[in-house]
C-alpha cells in the first residue's frame, strides 16, 4: 500500500505541471504580438545587464569637437550628444537606470500594495472602508503631481525618486488587489475553506493568494511603463537622476535645446522610452488575456 501512495504522489506531481500555468503559457505563445513584445522587453533587460560589454564607448567620455554629430558619423553610429558623448553607448547605459526606475518602484509597490489590498479585501467591513478611503486620498492626486511633490520635498536623487514613485503606485495596486480579493472572497471555495475551520491567515495563504496574485501582477506590469515615463519626467525636471548619469528622461531633457539642430538625435531617448513602455504594455496585455480562464 505505501508504494501505491508514493506512486500517486509521483503522478500528482506530473499532473501538476499540466495545470494552470502551462495552459497560460500555451495561450501566451499563441499571441504573436505579446510574444514579440516579450522578446523586445527581454532584449532591453539584457541590454541593460550587459551594457559594459555591448557599449562601444564610455558613456561619460565627451569630445568637444564631436558635439552634436549627426546619426551615422564615423565612430558615432547614433551620433553624439551636446557634450560629444557617444549616443549609442549612452542609450545602452541609460537602459540600466531607466529600467531600474521603471521596475523597482513597481515591485516594491506591488509587495506593499498587494498586502494592503488583500488584507482589506479579505477582511472587508470597516477595515476595508478605512484602508481604502485613506488610500483614495492619495489616489485623488494626479500621479505626476504627487511624484513631483514628494520628490520636490525630499530633494533630487535616485533614492528619493524611487521612494516617491513607490508611494505613487501603492494606491492603484492596492485598489486592484482589493477588488480582485473581494471577488474571490465571495466564491464558494472560500466559504468551504471557512467551513473547514481554517484561520483567516491559512485561507489567505492557501486559497486566496494563488488566485489573486496573478491578476495583480499583470496590472503591476502595466505600471512599469508609467513608472519609466514618470521617472523620465522627474529627471527632466531635475528631480530624479542627476547629470552626468545616462538616463533616458535626463537625456531627453538635456538634448531638448538641440531639437532644431539635430531633431533626430534629440528624439532618440524618446524612442527608447516609447519602445520600452509599449513593449511592457503589450506584454502585460498578453499576459492578462493568457491568464483569463474562460470555462
Amino acid at each position: 500500500m505505501p508504494d501505491t501512495a508514493a506512486n500517486i504522489t509521483e503522478l500528482a506531481k506530473i499532473e501538476r505541471s499540466h495545470g494552470y500555468w502551462r495552459s497560460v503559457w500555451t495561450r501566451f505563445l499563441r499571441d504573436k504580438v505579446a510574444v514579440c513584445a516579450g522578446l523586445v522587453a527581454a532584449g532591453l533587460v539584457l541590454m541593460a545587464i550587459f551594457a559594459p560589454w555591448i557599449a562601444p564607448a564610455d558613456p561619460l567620455d565627451g569630445s568637444m569637437i564631436k558635439r552634436l554629430s549627426p546619426i551615422g558619423t564615423e565612430g558615432y553610429p547614433l551620433g553624439a550628444d551636446e557634450l560629444g558623448r557617444d549616443m549609442l553607448s549612452r542609450l545602452i547605459y541609460g537602459a540600466r537606470l531607466s529600467l531600474f526606475m521603471g521596475v523597482v518602484p513597481v515591485l516594491i509597490a506591488f509587495a506593499i500594495g498587494s498586502a494592503i489590498g488583500i488584507a482589506a479585501g479579505y477582511l472587508g467591513g470597516w477595515v476595508n472602508t478605512i484602508t481604502m478611503r485613506t488610500l483614495d486620498v492619495l489616489y485623488a492626486f494626479p500621479s505626476v503631481l504627487l511624484a513631483i511633490a514628494i520628490s520636490g520635498a525630499l530633494g533630487a536623487g535616485i533614492l528619493n525618486g524611487l521612494l516617491s514613485l513607490t508611494v505613487v503606485f501603492i494606491p492603484p495596486i492596492a485598489r486592484v488587489a482589493e477588488s480582485v480579493t473581494t471577488s474571490v472572497r465571495k466564491l464558494e471555495y472560500i466559504e468551504a475553506a471557512q467551513a473547514s475551520g481554517a484561520s483567516s491567515f491559512q485561507i489567505v495563504r492557501q486559497h486566496v493568494l494563488g488566485n489573486v496574485l496573478g491578476p495583480i501582477f499583470v496590472y503591476a506590469t502595466s505600471l512599469i511603463s508609467v513608472s519609466m515615463i514618470l521617472a523620465a519626467g522627474l529627471s527632466f525636471l531635475g528631480l530624479g537622476v542627476s547629470p552626468p548619469n545616462a538616463e533616458w528622461g535626463l537625456m531627453l531633457n538635456t538634448l531638448r535645446n538641440a531639437i532644431y539642430v539635430q531633431p533626430w538625435l534629440a528624439a532618440l531617448p524618446g524612442v527608447m522610452i516609447f519602445l520600452t513602455s509599449i513593449s511592457f504594455n503589450m506584454l502585460s496585455d498578453g499576459l492578462r488575456s493568457a491568464m483569463d480562464v474562460k470555462q
Binding site: 506530473i14 494552470y20 464558494e188 468551504a192 475551520g197 481554517a198 470555462q295
Partner: protein, 324 residues
Amino acid sequence: MSTPILSAHSLVKHFNAGGFGAARKVVRAVDDVSFELAPGETLGVVGESGCGKSTTARLLVQLLKPDSGSVRYEGKVVGPELPLKAFRSKVQMVFQDSFASLNPRMTMIDAVAFGPTVHGVSQSDAIRKAQDLLDRVGLDPARFGGRYAHELSGGQRQRVNIARALAFDPQVIVLDEAVSALDKSVEAQVLNLLMDLRRERGLTYVFISHDLNVVRHISDRVMVMYLGEVAEIGPAESLYGAPCHPYTEALLAAMPSLDPDQRTMEAPLAGDPPNPIDPPSGCRFHTRCARAFGPCSTQIPPSYTVGRSHVAACHLNSVKEHVA
C-alpha cells in the same frame, strides 16, 4: 425524539438593503426559523428562489452569524458551549456550484486533504485519507487526484466536494442544491452515492432543493419555506400525501408529471413571491393564496400541529380543528 443532533432555535437573519436610520431597509431573509434534526435522518428543505433556503443553510453551518437565535449541536449552543472549530468538523456543507466550490489552483487530492490538515492531521495522513475518500466517491485517485477543477465534469467535481466534506468525518452534511446543477443521469448517481454514504456512516443530511421529486425520494422529513419562514414541516409521506398549507399544495400541484392525464393545466401559483424587504402583513402567503380568508391578512398564523410531528403555519387548520 431523542436529543436532536442539530437544532435551529428562532434563527433570524436580516440583510441590509440600503438606507440609514429610520429609512433603513432590511431583507428579511430568514425570520424566526426553528427545527430539529434527529441523528441519522434526512430533512429536505424546499421553497421558491429567495425563500431563505440557502441563508438557512449558511446559518446552520455558521458561515453566517444569525442576528438572533442559535444553533445547537447535540444540545450545546455553538459558540459559547461548543467551540466553533470543533463544530466545523462535525457539520459540513456541499454547495450548488461544483466549480466555484473548488479552488482552481488546487489539485483534487489537495482540495480534499486541506480540511484534515486544518484540524491537525499530518500532510501524509491527510493525503492518504483523501485518496481513500476519492476512491469511495467513485473517482480513481491515481487518475483524478492530480487534476484541477476545470479538468473534471460537473458530476465528478460534485463527488470531490462530497469527499471533501467527508474528510472531516462529519455527523451532519448540509447539501445546498448539491445535485440541482447536474444532468439527470449524473444526479441519480450522486443521489445514490449520498444514500449509500448515509447508510454506511450514519450521516444526517439537510437536503436543500427545489426539486420536489428528489426531495421526496431522499428525505425522511420535509420543511417547506416561504419568504424566510417555515410554512410547513412534517414527515415526507404525510406532507406529500396530505399537505396542510395551501403553499405546499400549490408547490405539489406544480410538480411536473409524466402521466398525460395528470398534466398541469394551469399554473397553481401565479407571479413572483412578494418582496422580502416589505413582506405582507399577517400570513406572508395571503397575497397569493387562493383560500385566504378573514384573519389571513392581519394575524400571523401560529404553528398548528396537524399530525405526528407535522406542523403547519396556516389559519385554515384552526378551522379544521374547529370543525373536528
